[in-house]
Subunit: 232 residues, 2 copies
Amino acid sequence: MKNATIDLPSLPRQRLGDQIADVLRQQILLGQLPPGKNIPERETAAALGVSRTPLREGLLVLEAEGLVEMSPSKSPVVANPTFVEVSNLLLVQSALEGLAGECACDEASEGEIDKIEDMHKMMLANVQEPDQIKFFQIDMAFHEAIVASTKNASLIKTHKQYHSRLWRVRFLSARHRAARDKAMIDHGRIVEGLRLRDKEQVSSEMREHLRRAIDNIRIVFAEEETSTAGNG
Amino acid sequence: MKNATIDLPSLPRQRLGDQIADVLRQQILLGQLPPGKNIPERETAAALGVSRTPLREGLLVLEAEGLVEMSPSKSPVVANPTFVEVSNLLLVQSALEGLAGECACDEASEGEIDKIEDMHKMMLANVQEPDQIKFFQIDMAFHEAIVASTKNASLIKTHKQYHSRLWRVRFLSARHRAARDKAMIDHGRIVEGLRLRDKEQVSSEMREHLRRAIDNIRIVFAEEETSTAGNG
DNA sequence: GACCTTTAGTTGGTATACCAAATATGGGTC
DNA sequence: GACCCATATTTGGTATACCAACTAAAGGTC
């Protein structure tokens, strides 16, 4: 096993547990720690070059976020949500982004809207590129930027957590060209509404954008169903 | 100091850290641990009859919920949110409850709506009682019951967290008779909409109900301002 | 040969011990 | 007498050690 020690700054600017949570969260989002994977405490702590105490604190953070499930006498495990659970998550996220759209019309500066529009244009330029990761990352940044422009710290934090839990499945969904095309249409209307500061339009477009995503994700789960059935 | 040891079941059915989080959360909500109060780890652990490790895990839970703030080399402290922060929390909660109202129209059973209506009637019977705590507790249970009827686990959990953070300030707000009267009107429309399964009505009533609460809470902060100014 | 029992090993849960940073306090100096 | 520096104490952060529950495997019995 390669020694995956994370770099420890001599001055602990941040709690080690939070840094560990960040590292593990990245690994989960990127699929290096796939859903269902065990995360034994001793082994993982040794691999990261830390003790069990901060590792455990990091795992508890991820458990609170819903990315990891812990149960007594069993190794913590990367969450593997069902379609219904993901659907529920998307509903909540749609409500959060609906609010974000409304607040952004009040709070976003022109400069922030400029940057949001830039992201939209960059996505348009990449919509037919084979490099899906780039497209997807800008997609996520687009949504994050709108939420950030509301300056509502609670909204930003809660949205970020749902973002993490939905990252993987939305990434799988973004592989479909049709889903990307639909997303671009929605994004265009959102940017347009932001320019006009039209709360009603932006709010409902963002809300419905995510609700439509549920259908795309149903396809992803159906594919996974057939592929796992083929393996068994 | 009285020994406030919590009862430890010989079989740890639940993680000790979570139990500790529950105990401290109750104490914060009830004002036994008022905003700004220090929660030193060693002292508190000793008072609860546990070691620092699980106490710390409990504190981290409360920090994630926003009820406690932790910073290096300083005792954890009970959060003391500003009006702007509370206002932001209420906006998010309004979005969550708006979604809950919509989903409840689809998912709530007739029996669940019966219980929700019972709570409403019980509040009507207590609206002019001096026992504000009882009125307030039913008020909170009323909102919780509607959210629970959606069967959306993520929504329930996130709503519960915001519920905790808003508990104290909403309790202070509920002392005002005018606020209670207004609440009863809103609740009546909500129950009516639930019976009719009118998503649009229930959703917008619940959303606006909480947004109106912002004004009541502004009054609470104004009062606190003057009272602290008087003390200084 | 199959099933039950026991035991060894692994897991997470908790307590304790150690460390470093920050702070408050007391003594010394100007 | 006031201000500065050194030190002792208290804080949270981390590592380690211990424990109880669960699991799985091996050996004995029917």
